[in-house]
C-alpha cells in the first residue's frame, strides 16, 4: 500500500491517475453546487436580523474556508518538496495557488457586498479583513515569484520558502475575531459548540463548502496535468503521450 502511494509521487504515474479522477470530482462539484444552491435559496429561511442579505453566507464562508485551507495545503506541498526534493510537490503547490487566490478574492468580494448592508461599509481596516487581504497578496506573491524564476527547481525552492513563511498568516486570520476587537462576527460554526444558526442554513453552507472542496480538487488536478506536461516535455513518456493523443 505504501509503495503504491509512493509510486504516484512520480509525475509519470500521477499524470494518468489525475486524468481519471478529474471527471469524478467535476461531477461531484456540479451536483453538490446545485444541491447547495437549492438549499441556499429555497430551503433556508430568511434571517430575522439580516433579512435576505445573509444568503451571501453560502458563498462567503465556503470561499473563506477554502482560501485558508488551500494555503495550508499549498504550503504543505511546498514544504514537502523543500524537504524531500520530490518533483511533483512543487508542481502541486503551483497548481493550487490560482484556485486559492480565486477563493480569497471571492471571500473578500462577497464580504464587501455583505459588509455594506450590515455594517454600512464595503471595507474597513479590521483585523479579519486585513489579514485576509494579506493572504491574497501572499498567493499573488507566490505565483509572481515562481513565474519570475526560470529554473523550475529554484522557483520551487524560493516559492516554498515564501509559502512557509506566509503560513503564519493563516492562524492570524482564523483567530483574528478572538484576538482583536473586530467588526467581523465570530465563528458561526465550531467543533466545540453547537452552531449558532438554523440547521437548514448550516446544511446549505456545508453543501457549498463540500462543492468548493470537490471543485478545488478537480481544478488542481487539471492544472497539475498541464504543469507536468510543460515541465517534463523533454521526457520520453510525455512525447509518447502526446503522440498517442495526436494519433
Amino acid at each position: 500500500m505504501t509503495s503504491d502511494l509512493f509510486r504516484f509521487a512520480a509525475p509519470q504515474a500521477f499524470f494518468p491517475l489525475a486524468g481519471k479522477l478529474i471527471p469524478w470530482f467535476s461531477v461531484l462539484a456540479g451536483v453538490l453546487t446545485l444541491a447547495g444552491l437549492y438549499v441556499a435559496f429555497f430551503v433556508a429561511p430568511t434571517d430575522h436580523q439580516q433579512g435576505e442579505a445573509y444568503r451571501i453566507i453560502f458563498i462567503h464562508v465556503p470561499a473563506a474556508w477554502m482560501s485558508m485551507f488551500l494555503y495550508v495545503v499549498m504550503a504543505g506541498w511546498a514544504g514537502l518538496g523543500l524537504a524531500l526534493n520530490t518533483r511533483l510537490s512543487g508542481m502541486m503547490a503551483s497548481a493550487i495557488a490560482p484556485t486559492g487566490a480565486m477563493f480569497t478574492f471571492l471571500a473578500l468580494w462577497s464580504g464587501a457586498l455583505w459588509g455594506r448592508p450590515t455594517w454600512g461599509a464595503y471595507w474597513v481596516w479590521d483585523a479579519r479583513l486585513t489579514s485576509e487581504l494579506v493572504l491574497l497578496f501572499l498567493y499573488l506573491g507566490f505565483i509572481a515569484l515562481k513565474s519570475a524564476i526560470e529554473d523550475p527547481t529554484r522557483a520551487d525552492r524560493a516559492g516554498a520558502i515564501l509559502a512557509l513563511v506566509g503560513v503564519v498568516n493563516v492562524p492570524i486570520i482564523y483567530y483574528s475575531v478572538q484576538w482583536w476587537n473586530t467588526l467581523h462576527q465570530g465563528a458561526s460554526v465550531s467543533l466545540t459548540r453547537a452552531p449558532s444558526m438554523a440547521s437548514t442554513m448550516l446544511a446549505g453552507m456545508l453543501l457549498m463548502a463540500l462543492a468548493a472542496w470537490m471543485y478545488s480538487i478537480a481544478t488542481t488536478l487539471c492544472r497539475v496535468r498541464s504543469i507536468i506536461l510543460e515541465r517534463e516535455r523533454d521526457a520520453e513518456w510525455v512525447r509518447m503521450t502526446k503522440e498517442r493523443a495526436a494519433a
Binding site: F42, T46, A63, M102, S110, W114, C222, R223, L229, K242
Partner: protein, 44 residues
C-alpha cells in the same frame, strides 16, 4: 418556500444587488477558471 414570485426572488428583500453581486462574480470567476483550464488543453 420564501418567494411569492420571480420578482420577489430577484429582489432578495431589497438586497438583490448585494446577493446577486456576490453570486454573479463567484459564477464568473468559476467559469473563467474552467475556461482557462479546458482552453489550455485544446491548444496542445
Amino acid at each position: 418556500m420564501t418567494w411569492g414570485s420571480v420578482n420577489d426572488f430577484l429582489a432578495m428583500g431589497g438586497y438583490g444587488f448585494y446577493v446577486w453581486g456576490s453570486y454573479g462574480v463567484a459564477a464568473l470567476c468559476v467559469c473563467l477558471e474552467i475556461l482557462s483550464l479546458t482552453g489550455h488543453k485544446e491548444k496542445r
